[in-house]
């Protein structure tokens, strides 16, 4: 229904679409109403009660986020009653909260702190309840720290875990004064089905959920003259870092980021996009092999569809939820881990550096990468392949600590050897990107021709729909791939684990006919990752996505198999895709985990 109704907000008459909430109407009218439990990505909870407004004729105040506008409604968002109540609510939240802000990781980026500042809560009249509580801190996870004393029980994390991710690792437990956000039997996050995706961190208004940071460890390594610290940067970081440092959302800062990393003192600034390109070669080959075995050799032991394996939260998700489908996963390591394994082998050898002295750092839009780097099997170089994983946010903190005026930095290029990349590597940062990159390469490999899309932009796999399907018909393949002639390659792309669930259920039930599926754990793909700047929203992710595709469009090379460094590494070091050396360094195995 598109009918309009008339409301009055603070004396201003306004026409709004029927069904809009008071909060939405106020925003349209340019009136700010503070919120805490409200988040654009999530369903309405209406539990924090800071968005209360006065509606004429009603005895009680109404929660603006949860109350639909009605014809002729007269709303006051700033009456004395509203302001006093709002102040009370903030005071109450603070009384239950460990408000030791100077010692909080989220100091300066906390919605509660902002509200307290806005309303100038200068005194603590109410009793401090926080010290009377048995608050616990869970820091067993390599990715996420959960501190109950900072929690305001808005349930944004719980809704995130359920609605966006379908993981339900977090829940609301107990009632009354004991009500809290908990895992199953209050186990450590590391011991439950949590995928470490970090979306709860991105959606937490306070410091209750934060990434485990490794900033000091990295500073120590940089300062150690005996260490050679290499750093790799994931595709999505270059469209998020600027935002974290005060620039416009969706700013592309690749060159500045490289300069900043050099100034921070990293020995060599390299690019995860290089191993993204490498992933395409390995994974593309794996896909074609599986297709050959299935379609030509009629080998029933080979599993299709092939599912991408770049997203470590997705990996942990499937290990818990669909252990029976692990064989569908590509055996390729993620670009981060390929990079790590090569840094202490190929790179070390070429640069004649003792791998023991190499400290491998990665900058990721992701918190699950911290967990991934910590997986015991990720030691194929003979060392821990990736030593420290920093999120985009942590890098921004380091840049600020170093006193670098980021916006004024000149551009710089990545160092050579594992620094070269193509547009195909860049789009790994957006949902659908791996699929698009793989198709650009696989299609050309099979047919000798470029994918039949304008300017290589495979638009059907792009966008923000939770699940997208595409098919591409293979015609006139090269002789070697004759068995693919006329085959319609069916692909699916899903982002947000709740959508992955839909796709995987179809795979499990045998109702899907896909050959290849790309799954990214986070909404929007890595650009909306759990390690990206806070806040996040559909609009913010849209802008980052535009930046990713702009970055791709601006690259001179846009197909992974044209990356000269990739060609070189096969020639000099790896031999051939899926060869023994690749197999050893670039591929991995998965572990079935408990579903509950």
């Amino acid at each position: 229904m598109n009918t309009k109704i008339n409301v009055t907000i603070n004396g201003f008459q306004l026409e709004v679409e029927n069904g809009k909430t008071i909060l939405e109407a106020a925003n349209e009218a340019g009136i700010n109403i503070p919120t805490l439990c409200y988040h654009k990505d999530l369903c309405i909870a209406g539990n924090c009660r800071v968005c209360m407004v006065e509606v004429s004729g009603q005895k009680r105040l109404a929660a603006a986020c949860a109350t639909p506008c009605e014809e002729e409604m007269e709303i006051q968002t700033n009456s004395l009653k509203v302001r006093n109540s709002r102040k009370h609510i903030i005071e109450l939240l603070l009384s239950e909260h460990n408000a030791d802000c100077t010692k909080c990781y989220k100091n300066g980026n906390c919605e509660l702190q902002e509200l307290a500042s806005e309303y100038k809560i200068m005194t603590q009249d109410f009793l401090r309840l926080a010290p009377m509580k048995n608050y616990t801190i869970d820091q067993f996870s390599p990715s996420i720290i959960k501190d109950d004393s900072k929690c305001i029980r808005c349930q944004r994390c719980v809704r995130t875990c359920a609605e966006l991710q379908g993981v339900n690792a977090l829940t609301v437990a107990y009632k009354g004064d004991e009500m809290k956000i908990a895992t199953f039997f209050e186990k450590a996050m590391n011991d439950v089905v949590c995928t470490n995706c970090g979306q709860c961190i991105n959606h937490c208004p306070t410091g209750a959920l934060v990434e485990r940071n490794y900033i000091e460890e990295v500073w120590d390594a940089i300062a150690d003259p005996n260490k050679h610290v290499v750093v790799q940067t994931a595709p999505a970081v270059r469209v998020g870092l600027g935002e974290a440092l005060g620039m416009d959302i969706g700013s592309r800062v690749t060159g500045k980021m490289v300069t900043a990393l050099k100034r921070l003192g990293f020995s060599s600034v390299l690019d995860t996009d290089f191993t993204a390109d490498l992933t395409i070669i390995e994974e593309g080959t794996e896909l074609l092999n599986r297709l050959r075995k299935t379609l030509q050799d009629k080998d029933t032991n080979v599993r299709l569809p092939l599912a991408t394996s770049c997203s470590p939260a997705w990996i942990k998700y499937i290990e818990h939820q669909y252990p029976e489908l692990l064989d569908n996963l590509s055996t390729c390591k993620s670009p981060q881990q390929m990079f790590g394994a090569l840094a202490k082998t190929y790179y070390a050898k070429a640069r004649k550096i003792d791998p023991d002295k190499i400290v491998s750092v990665s900058i990721m839009p992701c918190t699950a990468k911290k967990f991934e780097a910590n997986r015991p099997e990720m030691h194929d170089s003979g060392y821990r392949d990736v030593d420290y994983v920093l999120t985009t946010r942590e890098l921004a903190i380091m840049i600020r600590q170093a006193g670098i005026e980021f916006q004024k930095l000149p551009d710089n290029k990545f160092d050579r050897l594992m620094g070269e990349s193509t547009g195909a590597g860049v789009i790994f940062g957006a949902t659908g990107g791996v699929m698009e990159a793989a198709l650009r390469t696989a299609y050309e490999l099979v047919t000798g021709r470029e994918v039949p899309f304008d300017n290589l932009n495979i638009t059907p796999v792009r966008g923000v729909d939770g699940i997208r399907e595409a098919s591409i018909k293979i015609e006139k393949p090269l002789k070697e791939w004759a068995f693919l002639d006329g085959v319609e390659l069916k692909c699916a792309v899903a982002h947000g684990l709740v959508n992955a669930k839909t796709v995987m259920d179809a795979v499990k039930n045998g109702t899907s006919s896909y050959h290849f599926i790309e799954i990214m754990a986070c909404p929007g793909g890595c650009l909306g990752g759990g390690g990206q700047p806070i806040p996040t929203s559909p609009e913010i992710r849209q802008k980052r996505m535009e930046a990713i595709y702009a970055e791709d469009g601006a690259m001179p090379l846009r197909k992974s198999h044209e990356n000269p460094e990739v060609l070189k590494i096969y020639q000099d070091f790896l031999g051939e895709p899926l060869g023994p050396k690749s197999h050893h360094l670039l591929h991995t195995k998965y572990i079935p985990r408990e579903r509950f």
Partner: protein, 154 residues
């Protein structure tokens, strides 16, 4: 006693496997086991295709769905206003003294657990308590001793 796994299957068959059948199933397990163990909750989650955390979150909301091991007989003494003013504490002390058990604890033989609870709805016959599903009202230290000695013989 039915093994937990079979009990949960049976309950799910009886009540259904929708989320809305969760409470009756939790109650069914508590009826037999007196509490919900980690294992029970996991099995229930599996049976209803819910996350274990959701089952835990729901169970902990309800005062009667204990998730710590309880005794065969759970004594719940009402602590709300009328019972409280009509001598609830004397009743508690009598029980603690007689069973050698603290509030919130279970006797070492695993027979009795002693808890307090909010209004049982017997204010006109205060003080009141529940032993499992059985109500006892107008309690005096003497009547409590008598009641408990019956249970001790069981």
């Amino acid at each position: 006693m039915t093994p937990i796994h079979d009990l949960i299957k049976k309950l799910a068959n009886e009540h259904g496997r929708n989320r809305r059948n969760l409470l009756p199933i939790l109650q069914g397990v508590v009826e037999q086991e007196k509490y919900l163990s980690e294992h029970s909750m996991i099995e229930i989650a599996r049976e209803l295709n819910l996350s274990a955390a959701d089952v835990y979150g729901t169970a902990t909301f309800y005062s009667f769905l204990e998730h710590q091991k309880m005794g065969t007989y759970i004594i719940r003494v009402c602590k709300t206003i009328t019972c409280s003013m009509k001598g609830k504490n004397q009743i508690l002390l009598t029980i603690q003294d007689m069973l050698k058990v603290g509030l919130g604890e279970t006797t070492s033989d695993g027979k009795f657990s002693l808890l307090q609870t909010n209004c049982l709805g017997w204010c006109h016959k205060a003080p009141a308590m529940l032993i499992n599903n059985e109500v006892y009202t107008e309690l005096t230290p003497e009547s409590v001793r008598e009641i408990l000695s019956q249970y001790l013989k069981k």
